[in-house]
Amino acid sequence: MKKSRILSLALAGALSFSMLAGCGGGEGGTANTPSGNSSTPAGSEETTPVSGGSASGTFKLGVIGPLTGGAAIYGTNVLNAAQIAVDEINELGGAVQFELISADDVHDPETSVNAYNNLMDQGMQILVGTVTSGPALSVVPLAYEDRVFTVTPSASGDDVIEGNDNVFQVCFTDSNQGSRSAQYIDEHFEDVKIAIIYKNDDPYSQGIRDNFAAEAETRGMEIVYEGTFNESTQTDFNNQLTSAQSAGADMIFLPIYYTPASVILTQANAMGYEPTFFGVDGMDGILTVPGFDTTLAEGVYLLTPFSADAEDEATQNFVSEYKSRHNDEIPNQFAADAYDAVYIVYEAIQAAGVTADMSNEEICDALIAAMGDLSVVGLTSAGSEMTWDDNGAVSKDPTAVVIEGGTYVTP
């Protein structure tokens, strides 16, 4: 009796463990919980009358992103680049100054809520974050309720901005990434047979896949296989790759982050399967995985608005500053997004004429009004102007790069 009871207890444990693992990274129950109790907006205590006109004061910018964990390269790039932009702006010595505070969310929705509350306790007035979409879906409703003006460098989910008037994106939305990828493949590869491998418990991956598939269908492109994986099965792709290969796929579309992508590249190589791999912004970082044989990434395409080898002066200055600060590390598009995000906030503050002693709500409303007419040329807009619609989605043109000789090259 006793023995079987222990066993069934343990089995139940195992089951619920795997259930939990299966649900991780999803939208999470925290997304819709009303905020409040633990977060105390410090900036709102002062009641200085609205002074209008010239912007001034030191604004507290908060960065939330994965500084450790599987997506750490994004968070650290965003934080480093935001710091560069903040230092540049402060060095100008204008009336508007920034102070940067940051918190780690480990690319986890629940941790991100703690990170947000932590920053609010420190008196955050404007949020530059979150870096990834999963956590953003948990943080954005809180920021909406607390009226914190939010510019996310890279959380590309459509739901991140949907219905939240205070949130603006620097990156394109998932629908844009998905459909633009399909467009790019259709225009540059003839009669290609496509397989898709995506992570179906991640709104980011699922969102891009849905829009890619929809656009591919209207264009009459051939998708021969679709395989999924989730948080608990992201270590073994041999079956998906075997299926893709036997379905005759010569291109695999990977709307996923670079960590599982590195496993896919390694396992495909071990099988002797050599399709063209096409990733989106999540593929950025594949060359930085410790111990990863980067020759496996040769010929991988990825959709990105930023390439560090671009010739224009702004990019060159940014890249050399970043390299001199961080051991010759080359910044990725997330860094560029974050750099632009800080400048977008700076431009919006000047356009709206807000001062740092205003309450979060006053700052937020004034900046939202200013965003409608704002147009900013940044590192990630390839010379064109970024503008925003009422939803907070950015309009600019994406381009693709291919990995050759260990760096990104425009094909």
Binding site: I6, L11, T68, N239, A270, M271, F292
Partner: protein
Amino acid sequence: MEFLLYLINGISMGSIYAIIALGYTMVYGIAKMLNFAHGDVIMVGGYVSFYATTYATGQLLGDNPSETAVGVATLVSVLLAMIVCTVLGVIIEGLAYRPLRQAGSLAVLITAIGVSYFLQNAAQLLFGANPKNFTSVIGGQLSLFDGQLRISNVALLTVVACVVIMIGLTLFTGRSKMGKAMRACSEDKGAAQLMGINVNRTISLTFAIGSALAAIAGVLLCSYSPVLQPTTGSMPGIKAFTAAVFGGIGSIPGAMLGGILLGIIEALAQAYISTQLSNAILFAVLIVVLLVKPSGLLGKYVPEKV
């Protein structure tokens, strides 16, 4: 032909589950406890081997090491991982489980879960949370039928290692003196002690063997699926535990059978039914098997006297 490929994928992943399951099953058979920290010992083994090979290729062997040198370095790293894991397993048993020998089994179970979290967080502190890419030295693939059937050498090695380990363990528990002591402890600790068997030492030995196996499983797992992070061992650990129950916990051939069947079911479910539902199908099969045969496929049904 595709079916064969899926089958081979399943068997090689299943062999890894089987090696891990052997660790669960031995500890359960002898100490009557579920060592949930087993999966995390695998992760430690992976890290030890990763750092040992990185150090060897980076510092000791110079710029262009010969293939033999790299091979030897890998072998040494596996041995090192086994030693570290063995010591770790014995320490865990001595510090966390031995004081609870007389306590209820629930207390031991909770302690095991605690040890599991401790190891994961300690690894995160020591090695960082950033995933490391474990470069497998066993490259290449075997090509059959004019290249229609390609099997990676890692997969072959995994299957061979699994079979060798199972045969070795069966011989050890069946023939050797220590093995007999283990079986005696498994049947009745009190009586074994009266016969002059040192029960504590026997249990420590069981943990040592289980942990050494975990180190091998760790290196194989990381060669097969190259991302190494502090949570690497937890999901394969849970699946291997399932495999051990599936095959009949406490039975060594059962663990092997359970592991390989689990791998095959998973692979075929992913290939022919749905990649989304593969885990659900896996556990559904487990439930059906346990309903029909409550002690698992090869488990012994031991009626308890009331």
